[in-house]
């Protein structure tokens, strides 16, 4: 094939610029997957327990909301980190 050196040089230059954006995007996506999995499990078990004991629906709902907010907090930590990476990559 043609001269590999040109590809390597081009990659090195482009790497400094855009891999940070690439990383930030992938990080935010993974955080979304993690949050969705966690909150999905909470929602599932909350609905199941309401089906078992409809009279406790209020308490179960409250507990579900609290747990979901805590997990979302963790996912948003990851989002904040990705934002910081993105802003650093711009400069």
């Amino acid at each position: 094939m043609f001269n590999y050196n040109y590809i390597i040089m081009l990659n090195t230059i482009l790497m400094e610029v855009s891999l940070s954006l690439f990383g930030a995007g992938i990080g935010a996506g993974l955080a979304a997957i993690g949050a969705a999995l966690g909150i999905g499990r909470i929602g599932g078990s909350a609905v199941e327990s309401i089906a078992r004991q409809p009279q406790e629906a209020g308490k179960i709902q409250t507990a579900m909301i609290i747990a979901a907010a805590l997990i979302e907090g963790v996912a948003l930590f990851a989002v904040v980190v990705c934002l910081l990476i993105y802003l650093k990559g711009l400069a």
Partner: protein
């Protein structure tokens, strides 16, 4: 093997060519070209500024207050925005809307009324008006059924007192009720005010959420009894090697709990604003009717979700603060299984 590394190299090259729109915001794209830059627009709406912009061209310039060795200088920020190079009186308004002295060696303290400060004044005035009138109406309508504002807020206040205060903290809840109620309504009102068009992203300002979390931290610290410190530094009921391991974790935990309060509120509200603004920016990027309809529908749905998140984040902040206060004032209970 040689073919695989060639493929890898080419794939790497293509991936590294993918660059986002936002990279262009560093370039000097001002003046005639005026291509739409969503990154800049979103940042402009999220961040603080020295003028309150309701629409393009309709902006209220806010007072700039600077304290330096020259003393206190107060002037309108329109001097900055109307001057061609954003300089006035030895000060320069840089790209991030921060005031810098032209002479870099000077030290200035910028205590201006910015967009966030003005919005905070308005929301504080709103809170005072609403709650002082509710308090007065309890005196006026003693023994009668509540009416008006009082009847709207009473169930909410009772919910915070019963299901957050009494439930989480127990018998000593009354000491903390003023703080919990204040923080709940402050966060809720400011979240909602930020969702108005022309509204300001106050609770999405990490300095504001830092102060709120700092207050929770201070209240926890100053209302902590000996039992709380004992549980942190010398956790009872666990074997000795574990206690040594738990000690640094618990000490760091004193600080990470308010820190998580701060980041949770900040990230939730800011992310919500960014999502709505991104959907609306899509319309300007694509400039098509179909995208316009779809984007607006999505933006309306996300706004409904943001209304719910506004309430939920206030509730979660208040509830977690109450739980931290509860652990601070918890009395020593004798438990055989506990081992102490």
């Amino acid at each position: 093997m040689k073919n695989l590394s060639k493929i890898f190299l080419i794939a790497f090259l293509f991936i590294s060519l993918v660059r986002g729109n936002a990279y262009a915001s560093g370039s000097a794209e001002s003046g005639e070209e005026k291509t739409f830059n969503p990154g800049d627009l979103i940042m402009h709406h999220i961040l603080d500024a020295h003028e309150w912009e309701f629409a393009h061209g309709l902006a209220i310039p806010l007072p700039v207050i600077i304290y330096s060795e020259k003393g206190l200088e107060v002037f309108s920020s329109s001097h900055f925005y109307h001057s061609p190079n954003r300089t006035y009186n030895g000060y320069y308004l840089n790209h991030d809307d921060k005031i810098e002295p032209v002479d870099k060696s000077r030290k200035i303290y910028d205590i201006s009324i910015t967009k966030n400060v003005a919005s905070m004044f308005i929301s504080v005035a709103l809170l005072l008006i609403i709650f002082i009138s509710i308090a007065k109406s309890y005196g006026k309508r003693k023994g009668q059924a509540p009416k008006g504002l009082q009847s709207f807020f009473e169930p909410i206040i009772m919910y915070i007192r019963d299901d957050i205060g009494k439930n989480a903290i127990g018998p000593k809840y009354e000491r903390f009720m003023p703080y919990l109620l204040t923080v709940f309504f402050f966060i809720w009102f400011n979240n909602l005010l930020g969702l108005f068009p022309g509204g300001v992203n106050l609770t999405g300002n990490i300095a504001v959420t830092f102060i709120l979390a700092f207050f929770t931290f201070l209240v926890t610290l100053f209302s902590a009894n000996g039992n709380y410190w004992k549980h942190i530094f010398w956790t009872p009921g666990v074997p000795l090697p574990l206690r040594i391991i738990i000690l640094p974790i618990e000490v760091v935990g004193i600080f990470t709990k308010p820190f998580s309060l701060m980041v949770r509120l900040f990230a939730n509200i800011t992310a919500g604003h960014i999502i709505i603004l991104s959907f609306l920016s899509l319309i300007f990027m694509f400039e098509s009717f179909a995208v316009g309809f779809a984007s607006t529908a999505f933006a309306v749905f996300m706004s409904m979700l943001e209304l719910f998140v506004a309430l939920l984040q206030a509730y979660v902040f208040t509830l977690l603060s109450a739980m931290y206060f509860a652990s601070a004032v918890e009395e020593h209970h004798h438990d055989e299984a506990h081992g102490h």
